[in-house]
Amino acid sequence: MILTVASGKGGTGKTTVATSLALAIADSSPVLLDCDVEAPNAHIFLQPQFDQRREIGLPIPEVDEVRCTGCGRCAEVCQYHAIVVMGGKVLVFPELCHGCGSCTLQCPEGAINEVPNLLGVLEAGPAKEGIYFAQGVLNVGEPMAVPIIRELKQWQPFPEGRTIIRDAPPGNSCPVVETIQGADFVLLVTEPTPFGLHDLRLAIQLTRELGIPAGVVVNRDGVGDDGVEVFCRKEGIPILMRIPLDQRIGKAVARGEALVEAFPEYLPQFRELYAQIQSLIDSRQDEILPQAMGTHPSHGAKAGRL
């Protein structure tokens, strides 16, 4: 099972929930992927010993000025405008380049070579209580988080068949979409405030767009208003867990302690949360399978009709 913990609004407790969930099911040797590559912090709570490392780069163009005729074809085909041709001279903007390779392919003189531009690293290793941990770290000043997250998702320095928990970045933009894509379930951690609700709405739209089932964890339950409650009821989104507003939790997390370590009484709740997610995924598969297999045994034929 692949589970993404996301939120919309930042600072609602994604990492608190993701790390405590991993600790609560540690017996099954889960994997935690910290996909918040701009500011990964789950390692503070799970204390991995990194023994694997991979550098991640994008292929960016390097122009051979002798062969280049300054025709401008590369600038024309670059949809990211990462390469311009000014007065016959080619300029490359590495931080705009997505590494698509169009300029290299289209150059009529074969004057463009691709060289790696280092964006960041992936690190992995065993962490507390048999949890396996991996994170991506984007270099400071690099604007593109998605390539690092994509590589982190594909990197599997651990045995197959393990439950994977992905800790997402905040917001609802490309890095979050990448972290959610391919997951079986999205757990949205929110706070019951107008800010929390505003971003929760966007996050729900996103999970619906991607066709991935979602459930909500209300953190700091007791502050704010009943807006999140009313929204979830109206939209049929299950609230799977509530963590009360409790200053002791805030203090423990600030000391770098995982919620379930500081307060083991939460362990059963997190195990129950995991069981609920599993049954929601199972019931969804039961719903989908009979339809897909009904009168059209071939998926290809069905897709062809649509």
Binding site: G10, E38, V84, M86, K89, L91, L96, C174
Partner: protein
């Protein structure tokens, strides 16, 4: 010489649009004859690289100087490479700005004046909301 002014509309009476890469129109004026023409900015809705795209467009038009408000680092580098002189103004009509330019009343830009934007598709204005 060909002078470009970043405008909000396609008319010569347009007010200056202070964002270089994301302006709606370029008013391109021949400073000798005062003949002018307006072009929609092809980069106005670019997902990223609006500054470099707009700079490439002006270079292709044979523009030698531009009046705008702020220039991001990529726009500055690209315009500078094309030897297009950059001038900054707080506002005003395109017509008046041409006079200001000819009278040497505009501030010449020698470094980027605005922050990097890195694409309209990403979360702008800070990461943590």
């Amino acid at each position: 010489m060909k002078l470009a002014i970043t405008g909000g509309t396609a008319q010569y009476e347009t007010q200056l649009e202070r964002r270089f890469g994301r302006c709606a129109y370029f008013i391109i004026v021949d400073t000798e004859t005062r003949a002018w023409e307006s072009f929609p900015n092809p980069a106005v809705n670019a997902r990223g690289g609006a500054g470099t795209h707009a700079a490439q467009f002006l270079a292709n038009q044979g523009v030698e100087a531009v009046v705008s408000g702020d220039y991001g680092p990529n726009a500055f580098t690209a315009l500078d490479a094309a030897s297009i002189q950059m001038y900054s103004a707080q506002g005003g009509q395109a017509e008046t700005l041409v006079d200001d330019f000819l009278a040497g009343r505009l501030e010449k830009v020698t470094g980027n004046t605005g922050p990097a934007h890195h694409g309209g598709g990403r979360s702008q204005g800070g990461r943590r909301r």
